[in-house]
C-alpha cells in the first residue's frame, strides 16, 4: 500500500494499517486530524503546540515509523546538523596505514559529535584536491574540521580561500601568528622542551632531532624550537649535524632519518623523534645496527600513540590528549557555526617517561 500525498479518501484516512512505504508528515497529519504544519511543529518540540496534540502526533509518528526526511528539512532550514572531517594524507601509497594518532583523534571527534547531536561526515583528501568547496558549498556540512600533517606553506592558500568564503572551519595543528584560519593544537614547543630537558637530565650530551625543522611543518618546527630552547637552557648550542629531516610521520621516514644520521658519523647519545612513528623507525634502525636502547642511545617520541607503551623498550614520549583535542575542535567549530566568539587554543601536553630514555634502567 502506498499512501497518497494529499488528503486521501475517508476510507484510507480511517484505516489504521501501517503503510509499507515511507510515511510523510502529511500521513501523520491525516491520521491525527491536524494540519501538516502542526505535525512539523510538534515533532520539533515547538512550544506553540499543546501538550495533548503533541502526544497524539508523536504516538502516530511512532506507529507509522515516521522519521523526518533530513534532506527536506535541511533544504528548508538551510543547515545540515552535520560536520565534515577532512583527513589529509601525503600522496603516498594508498594502502599505507593511517597514523594511529589521527585514528585516535578521529575516534574522539566522532564521539564528541555524537554527544552533541551532530553527524560526522568522514573524508580522506589528497592535499592537492579542491576540497575547500566540496563540503561547505554543497551544504553537506555546516562546518569542517581539518586534520593531518602536510606541507603547511603549500596549503596555506586554500585556508585563505576557505576563510574568505566565510566557510566555518577549524584546523588541528600549529597555532601560528599569521594564520588565516582558526586552529587548535597542542603546545608543541612545551612538549619538545620537556622531552629535551628530560634527556639532558638523564645525562645525555648529544641529542639528535629527527624531523623536519622548517615552517613547512610548523608542528615539527615548534617541537624543534622547544628542543633548542632546552639545550640553550643547559648551555648547549644545537648542532645542525644532529638534525635530520623527516617530513612524513612514518616508520620508514624514521628509519631513513636514523640511517642518514649514522652516515654522518657524528656522535650522539639520544634521539628525539618528532613523532612516535618516526621513533619506531629509528629504534628499528638502531637495532639493525646493533645499537642498544636505552643503554647506548636514549630514544623519545611525540604523540603517545597506543602502541608506544608496548614497544621494546617502551617509548618515552609526549602525550597529546586526543579526547580533549577532539572535544575542543568540535566545540570550537560549533561556536563558530553559532556565531559565538571563538579563539585559537593551545592544549597542554604531558611528558610520559618510559624505559627507552632511562639509562641503567632494569627490565620494568
Amino acid at each position: 500500500m502506498t499512501l497518497l500525498r494529499r488528503p486521501p479518501p475517508a476510507v484510507r484516512a480511517t484505516s489504521l494499517q501501517v503503510p509499507k512505504g515511507k510515511a510523510t508528515s502529511f500521513d501523520i497529519a491525516h491520521l491525527t486530524g491536524v494540519s501538516q504544519s502542526t505535525v512539523s511543529r510538534a515533532l520539533r518540540d515547538s512550544p506553540l503546540v499543546s501538550e495533548e496534540t503533541r502526544q497524539r502526533i508523536k504516538a502516530a509518528a511512532d506507529q507509522l515509523n515516521y522519521k523526518v526526511d533530513k534532506n527536506a528539512s535541511n533544504l528548508r532550514s538551510q543547515h545540515s546538523g552535520t560536520l565534515a572531517l577532512l583527513l589529509f594524507e601525503d600522496p603516498t601509497a594508498d594502502d599505507s596505514h593511517i597514523n594511529p594518532f589521527f585514528l585516535s583523534m578521529l575516534g574522539s571527534i566522532t564521539r564528541a559529535c555524537a554527544l552533541r547531536g551532530y553527524d560526522l561526515l568522514m573524508s580522506f583528501q589528497q592535499l592537492s584536491y579542491d576540497w575547500h568547496a566540496d563540503y561547505a558549498d554543497t551544504k553537506k556540512a555546516d562546518g569542517i574540521i581539518l586534520l593531518g600533517y602536510g606541507d603547511y606553506l603549500a596549503y596555506r592558500d586554500k585556508l585563505q580561500k576557505l576563510a574568505a568564503q566565510g566557510m566555518r572551519s577549524v584546523r588541528w595543528g600549529a597555532v601560528l601568528p599569521d594564520q588565516p584560519d582558526l586552529s587548535i593544537g597542542c603546545d608543541n614547543f612545551q612538549g619538545g622542551q620537556a622531552i629535551a630537558a628530560h634527556l639532558l637530565d638523564q645525562g645525555c650530551k648529544r641529542v639528535a632531532f629527527l624531523g623536519d625543522a622548517s615552517s613547512h611543518y610548523p608542528e615539527f618546527f615548534e617541537r624543534y624550537h622547544g628542543y633548542t630552547a632546552a639545550l640553550e637552557q643547559a648551555g648547549i648550542v644545537a648542532d645542525p649535524a644532529l638534525q635530520v629531516d623527516a617530513a612524513e610521520s612514518t616508520e620508514q621516514a624514521g628509519y631513513n632519518a636514523l640511517e642518514t644520521l649514522l652516515v654522518r658519523k657524528v656522535p650522539f647519545d639520544a634521539v628525539f623523534a618528532a613523532s612516535d612513528l618516526i621513533a619506531i623507525g629509528a629504534m628499528r634502525a638502531l637495532a639493525d645496527h646493533g645499537i642498544k636502547v636505552p643503554e647506548q642511545v636514549a630514544v623519545a617520541g611525540f604523540d603517545d600513540i597506543p602502541m608506544a607503551r608496548f614497544l621494546n623498550p617502551p617509548l618515552t614520549t609526549v602525550l597529546q590528549d586526543t579526547k580533549l583535542a577532539g572535544e575542543t575542535l568540535v566545540d570550537t567549530l560549533l561556536q563558530l557555526i553559532r556565531n559565538e566568539p571563538v579563539e585559537t587554543r593551545l592544549l597542554p601536553v604531558r611528558l610520559v617517561v618510559r624505559r627507552s630514555s632511562q639509562f641503567g634502567s632494569r627490565q620494568a
Copy 2:
C-alpha cells in the same frame, strides 16, 4: 549583492560581478542565457546537452563558484550518495580506546567509499539505541555498514527489523546459516584452526582458549570451533577447564581471563586468545606472575592489529585483511543499493607467526 531567484532585470543579467551569496542553478542559467533545466543537465553530464552549451555552463559555474546543493538534489532524486558506518560499542567507559582493529576497518572503509564517490557518515552507537531507523528512514544514507562485536543474540531482532523494512545494510561479522541479514566476515574457523595447529606443531600439549565460546559471540565461537577441530585432528579432546570466557575484546578482559585460568590451577603451556587485545592483557598477566613467554607459555592472538608486531615478544596472530574487508563491505552494499545480486562472503585469513609462540627462539 543578493541574486534574485527569478529572471532578474537586464542590468543584473549582464553584470558579470561574482555574487557573494550562494549561487544557484538559476544564476548560472541567467548568466549563460539557457534554462535552469539545461544547467542541471549540463552539470550532471547528461548526453542531452550539446558540448558547446555544456562548456559554457561549466565555465559560468566555475566562475560563480557554484556547487550543486546536495540537500536539494538528494531530496529530488531520493538518494543521498552517502553510506553510514555504525560502530557499536559495548556500553563501557566512554573514554576507552576503540579497538585498533575497528580503527583499521574504519580507515579502509573510508578509503573505499571515497574511491567510489560516496560520502561516509560515521557514527558510534550504543547497542541498545534505536539505530535501525535513524539513517535509513531519515534518508541520510542510502545504506549502512554495521561494525562491532557485541552480543549477537541480543541484536538479532534489530537486524531482522532492518531487513524487514527493506533497509540496505551489510554487517561485518560471522557468516551464520540463519542470519536475517547480509554479512561479510573472515574465515574465523580456518584462522582458529591454523593457530591451534601451529601451537601443537610447536610442541604445546595443553592449549588454553581465552574468549567467549557461545553463539552470543559468533566470531569468537567460530575461532573456538577451529581450535577444537585442530585439537581433535591431533587426537586431543578439548578440556573445558582450559576455556575462559572473555566476551569483550579488551586488554582488561584478557588480563582477567588469564587470572581466572591461573586460579583454576590447571596446567597449560599455550594460550590462544580470541583477539590481539585479549592476548596483550594475557601477556601482561603472565608477566605479572613471572611466567615467561614463549619459554614457559606460548601465546597467540587474532586480528594482527598494528601493535602486534611491536609487542615483547612480537605476537603470533591471524591477519585479517582490513583493506580487502573494507572494500568488500562497501562494494557489497553498493550492489545491494543497485539491486544487483549479492552474497555473503567469507574472506581468507593468514597465519602470522612471530616470537610469542616459538619455543627456544632467540632474540629475533
